[in-house]
Symmetry: C2
C-alpha cells in the first residue's frame, strides 16, 4: 500500500467539485462528489437523537443499493429547522439529481455549520448547479475545502494497493473541528474506492473501521446533529471482493483503516484551538471495549487537555480519568507513560525528570500510554489540547 | 426556616477550626470539625474507581454508628500515593483521635489538592494538633477557608427551623472549583445538624438530597478521586426524628436540601475561571431520571458553556446537548427558553430579539429552561461558563 495524491477523486470513476455559493462570506461552501458508475454505498450517522434534515434523508437513501453522488453544504447545518429544513434538504437532492441525471434515491446529502438558522436555499441550489458543472477528476481538494467550517486545513488522503494484478485505490476527505466526540460527532468524512463488493459487507467493514478511527477521536465531548461517514465503492478497479477471507478484502480493509485513521487524526489535530494532537494508548486491557472506553475518556478530560496545553506533567489527571471511565480497574496494576517517561508504576508514582516529561508534552504529537497489565486488548484514541483559542472560537462562533 | 450565621458551628455542640500547616504556601490548609457529643454520621463518596487513601479510610469508618470528628487537609489529595499514602491517612486519624480523645473509628478524613505527590505528613500532623487546639464555636469560617483549593471564596451556609417548640439548626461548608462533575466529583461538603435520627434514615436522606444538589452540578466533567459529602447529626437540639412522615423530618429534609443546594450552587458559581452560574431547568419530562440526565448533559457541554461566556445565544448547542444525552426525546415537542426569551417552540426556531437574549446571557445567573412537553418530571442542574481563565488555571495548576 502506498500513499498517492488525489483524495476522493483518486479512485477510478470519481469526480468532485467545491464551489463558493455564498452561504459563507467568501470561502467555498458547496461540494459534490460523483461516481460515474453508480456505487455501492455504506454510511454511519450521528447517534444524536436530534438529527438534521439532511441526515434523515441520507439515512433513508442509504437503504437503497446504489449511491452515485454526495452533495454537501457548509456554513449552515440545516438542523432544527423544522418542515422548512426538510423541504430545503429535499430540494438539494432534487437539484443534484437533475444536474447529474440520476435518481434522487442515489444521492446522500449532508450539511454542516450553524444550527437552527434557515438554509439559504436559493444560494445552495445555485451552488449545486455550479458544482455539478465544475465536477472533475482533480476536484477533491476543492471539495475538501468546501466542507470546512472552523477547520484550519482541508483534510484529504488517498492510498493504492495491488491485488490480483490490479490496482485498487481508496481516497477520502473529511472535516471536523468543533462538536467532535466519539459516536459520530459535526464531523463529515467521505471515502471513495474503486473496489467492488456487496453492500452488506461494505457496511459491516465501515462500521468496524469507524469504531477504531472516527469513533476514537474527541475534540470537545459534544456529539453533533449532523455527523456522517460514507463510503462509495464503484468497482471500477475491476476487483470484486466476495468474502472476508480474501486477500483483496484484507488489503482493502487495511487501506480503509489507514485512510479513516489518517482523516480522524487530522480532525483531532485540527480541533478548535488545538496546538497538539494527543494520542492515548491503552494496552493490555481485559477487553477491547474497556480499552476503548478508557482511552476515549482520557482524551475527553478537560483537565488533562488543559494540562497538555500547559505542558504540565500532571499525570494525576490521567489516572483520575481512568478511574471515572466507568470500567473496573485495578489501580495497583497500572503503569502510565508520558511519551517514554514512566510516571506511574503499579499504581505508585515514580520520581521522574520534569524536564524530560515537559519535553514529551511539548511535542506536536503527545503520546500517553496506559498499561492496565491485565489482559491483551489494546486501543488508541486521539484528541487535542484545550486552549484559550478553543474558548475564543466557541464564545463567538455564531456572531 | 431562616438563614443564620455560623456555618457548621451553628448547630449545637459543634466546634471547628482551620489553620495554616504549611502544605500551602501561606493559606489555611488543615481543618477539623468536632461534635462534642458523638454524632450519627452519613456520607457519600466519589464513584471514581481510583479512590484516594483518605476516602478508603472514611468509607470504612462511616460504617460505624457514630462519628465525632472530620479532619481535612487541602493542598495535597493524598491520591495515587500507594501504601505510604494509606499510612499517612491513618496517621491523620491517629493524631486527630489522640488530640480529641476519641476512637479513630469515629473520625472521617478527607484530602484535596494535587494527586500523586506524597503528603507532607509531619506538617499535616502538626496542623492537626494546632487545629484541635484552636477548635471553637466560631471556627466554621476558618474551616471553610482551610478546605479551599482553587476556590476563590469560602462556601458556608446555615439555617434554623422550629419544630415541637424547639430550634433545629443545619449548617454546612464546602469546596469545589476544578474536577467537579455529577457523581461526586474534588468536591467536599460537610454538613452538621443538631437534630437526631437513626443512621439509616440519615443516610437515605443524604443520598436523596445529594442527588438533587451536589450530583446536579458540573464544572468540567471530571470526577475526582477524593469527593465526599458527609453529614453529622448529634441530636443536641433535643429533637429526635423517628419516621419520614413526621413534621420534624419534613422540615429537616427541607433544610438539608436548602443547605445542600446553596453549597452546590456556590461550587458551580465558583467553578474554575467561571464568570457566571448556569441553571438548566428541564421541565415536563417523562421521568425524573431523564430530566436529570438532560439537565446535567446541557450544563456539561463545553460548546454551550463557551457560548454563555461569549453571551452568544447559540441555542443550537443546547438542543444538540439534549440530543446526545442518551435519552429518548421528541424534538417536535421541545420548547427552549433563554431566561424569558423563547427561542425554540415545538422543535422549530422562533425569531427572537438578539438583544434581549444577550441580556439574559449576561446575567450572573443564566437560566435555561427546556420544556420536553411529555410528562411531569422536573430537574435542575447547575454549571458555569467555560472561560479563558479555566484554561489558564488548568494549564498550570501543578507547576
Amino acid at each position: 500500500m502506498k500513499k498517492i495524491q488525489g483524495g476522493v477523486t483518486a479512485p477510478e470513476g470519481f469526480l468532485a467539485a467545491g464551489v463558493h455559493a455564498g452561504i459563507k462570506k467568501s470561502k467555498k461552501d458547496v461540494a459534490v462528489i460523483f461516481s460515474e458508475k453508480p456505487a455501492v454505498g455504506a454510511a454511519v450517522f450521528t447517534t444524536n437523537k436530534v438529527k438534521a434534515a439532511p441526515i434523515l434523508l441520507s439515512m433513508e437513501n442509504i437503504k437503497d443499493q446504489l449511491i452515485s453522488a454526495i452533495v454537501v453544504n457548509s456554513g449552515n447545518a440545516n438542523a432544527c429547522t423544522g418542515e422548512e429544513g426538510m423541504l430545503a434538504a429535499r430540494q438539494m437532492l432534487d437539484e443534484t439529481g437533475k444536474c447529474l441525471g440520476i435518481p434522487i434515491s442515489q444521492i446522500l446529502v449532508a450539511s454542516t455549520g450553524v444550527i437552527g438558522v434557515p438554509l439559504p436555499v436559493n444560494k445552495v441550489l445555485n451552488g449545486i448547479r455550479m458544482a455539478c458543472q465544475a465536477l472533475s477528476r482533480e476536484g477533491s481538494g476543492a471539495a475538501a475545502e468546501a466542507i470546512m467550517t472552523t477547520d484550519t486545513v482541508p483534510k484529504e488522503i488517498a492510498v493504492e494497493f495491488e491485488v490480483y494484478g490490479k490496482t485498487v485505490k481508496v481516497g477520502g476527505i473529511a472535516k471536523g473541528s468543533g462538536m467532535i466526540h466519539p459516536n459520530m460527532a459535526t464531523m463529515l468524512a467521505f471515502i471513495t474506492t474503486d473496489i467492488g463488493m456487496e453492500k452488506e459487507l461494505l457496511q459491516e467493514t465501515l462500521r468496524e473501521v469507524v469504531d477504531e478511527s472516527f469513533n476514537m477521536i474527541s475534540v470537545d465531548g459534544d456529539s453533533s446533529t449532523n455527523d456522517m461517514v460514507a463510503v462509495l465503492a464503484n468497482g471500477l478497479s475491476g476487483v470484486w471482493v466476495e468474502s472476508k477471507e480474501e486477500e483483496a478484502y484484507l488489503k482493502f480493509k487495511n487501506a480503509l483503516e489507514y485512510v479513516a485513521i489518517c482523516l480522524a487524526k487530522a480532525i483531532a489535530r485540527d480541533g478548535e484551538g488545538a496546538t497538539r494532537l494527543i494520542e492515548v494508548r491503552v494496552v493490555n486491557a481485559e477487553s477491547l471495549q474497556k480499552a476503548r472506553k478508557i482511552a476515549r475518556t482520557v482524551t475527553s478530560s478537560n483537565l488533562f487537555k488543559a494540562a497538555v496545553f500547559g505542558e504540565d506533567a500532571n499525570w494525576g489527571r490521567i489516572i483520575t480519568a481512568v478511574g471515572y471511565a466507568g470500567e473496573e480497574i485495578t489501580v495497583e496494576k497500572i503503569d502510565i507513560y508520558l511519551g517514554k517517561v514512566k510516571v506511574l508504576q503499579k499504581g505508585v508514582p515514580l520520581p521522574f525528570s520534569e524536564e524530560e516529561a515537559k519535553e514529551e508534552l511539548a511535542r506536536e504529537e503527545v503520546i500517553v500510554t496506559i498499561d492496565l497489565n491485565e489482559g491483551d486488548a489494546n486501543a488508541v484514541a486521539w484528541g487535542c489540547d484545550l486552549t484559550y483559542d478553543y474558548v475564543k472560537i466557541n464564545a463567538s462562533y455564531r456572531t
